[in-house]
């Protein structure tokens, strides 16, 4: 069976790629679309570094096939330029090496879409599945709190 051509929207632009059925979404995003903000670490949907949004909901791009996003809207951290979350992370220094940051930003975006006014505990619970090995989580949570407050104020 020949490889399929998969069409989807990536950070607002229509894209198409021909790939084998076993091509993971994360690999295609990084290697074919230069989406280097999508990081791969655990390769089994556990660490959160590869988090993207698919039709608005969070997904582990390491644990889904490229063909599963046929016709879908895929968002990566590259689409968050100047977003309140990005600005809040920068203001709070909510990163150190930065490897996990793209995943945190995308999961935080999903959280605020579901719940624009999360409590600190709700933020911690939602983001608890993403792993950071150097910054610590307090500044990340504070950044999300501040971004949420800013987004509510301008809504």
């Amino acid at each position: 069976m020949p490889p399929e051509t998969i069409r989807f929207t990536l950070d607002g632009r229509d894209v198409a790629i021909t790939a084998e059925p076993t091509e993971p979404l994360a690999h295609a995003l990084r290697e074919s679309f230069a989406a280097q903000g999508v990081r791969v670490a655990c390769s089994r949907a556990v660490c959160g570094a590869c988090t993207v949004l698919v039709d608005g909901t969070p997904a582990a791009s390491c644990a889904m096939f490229l063909w599963q996003v046929e016709g879908a809207c895929v968002e990566t951290v590259a689409g968050l330029r100047d977003h309140p979350l990005q600005q809040a992370f920068a203001r709070h220094g909510a990163f150190q090496c930065g490897y996990c940051t793209g995943g945190f930003l995308m999961l935080a975006k999903a959280l605020l879409a579901e719940n624009p006014s999360p409590s600190r505990a709700e933020i911690a619970e939602y983001l608890s599945s993403n792993i950071c090995r150097c910054t610590g989580y307090s500044v990340i949570i504070e950044a999300v709190e501040q971004a949420a407050a800013g987004m509510r104020a301008t809504a």
Binding site: P24, M64, F65
Partner: protein, 256 residues
């Protein structure tokens, strides 16, 4: 991306042999495709990708996404019918399910992380047949039936194979039905309690041991099989801790 040579570190999806893709347009087409050697079902796909890391490499991926008859939750006076393709996020938030069995909806919301909850399905959780996946435990306590294209099984029977494709799960309804899942001791021990005006059932599991049913009257877990033990928990510990969880669960459900 760093791509180690085949066998250097571990198998991954990158080192797997080529596979074909079948986007099944009907349940019958899916069943026929899955009957082929080396075929694997893909619903959310989150578990299958992990399987590549364990060395599995299906040669035919059977996509179930177009099987809309396997979606949705229907609540009738007699049962709750949950389609096999309902995701954890959809199921745990379903207003009809929350209205009739909120304890189960709350338990469902505990499974997996947000990335997985939006992709992974109840059918995949069951049919992955991993002891660390918790849905078979919950459904055992609820006395649910797993309905396949060629027959019906109880959650205890899935480890021996399946008669076709899982289409839906049927949870019987009872007057006064309440449910509680306790996973604070996970991974060592988890316990689900289901009670209603006519009786009920509990079920116990660990990260590594298959779920076992527990009668609510068996307050000391006297009938827990001796085989319910491993290098992590002893049978004695499982009985003691399980009995404590069962007592706490019953107390909480009666106080609710």
């Amino acid at each position: 991306m760093f791509r180690p040579a085949h066998g250097l570190i571990a198998t991954t999806v990158h080192t797997a042999p080529r596979a074909a893709l079948c986007r099944a347009g009907s349940v019958a087409e899916a069943v026929a495709a899955l009957a082929q050697p080396g075929a694997a079902a893909v619903a959310g796909g989150t578990d299958l990708c992990a399987h590549y890391n364990l060395g599995e490499a299906p040669v035919l991926l059977v996509c179930l996404a177009r099987l809309d008859t396997l979606r949705g939750i229907e609540v009738t006076p007699g049962e709750i019918r949950i389609g096999a393709l309902v995701t954890h996020a959809q199921g745990s938030r379903d207003p009809d399910l929350r209205a009739v069995l909120p304890g189960f909806a709350n338990a469902w919301a505990m499974l997996a992380n947000p990335r997985v909850r939006h992709r992974a399905t109840i059918g995949g959780n069951i049919m992955a047949r991993h002891t660390r996946y918790e849905m078979s435990l919950l459904l055992m306590a609820l006395g649910a039936r797993l309905v396949f294209t060629d027959g019906t099984r109880s959650p205890a029977d899935i480890w021996q194979g399946a008669p076709g494709l899982l289409t839906h799960i049927a949870i019987p309804r009872h007057p006064g039905q309440r449910f509680l899942y306790m996973r604070g001791l996970r991974p060592q021990l988890t316990l689900a309690v289901h009670c209603h005006d006519g009786g009920g059932m509990a079920a116990i599991a660990t990260e590594w041991l298959r779920p076992q049913p527990v009668a609510l009257a068996d307050t000391g877990l006297e009938t827990l099989p001796e085989s319910f033990a491993d290098q992590v928990i002893s049978h004695w510990y499982a009985r003691r801790a399980g009995a404590t969880l069962l007592a706490r669960g019953m107390e909480a459900l009666h106080a609710a």
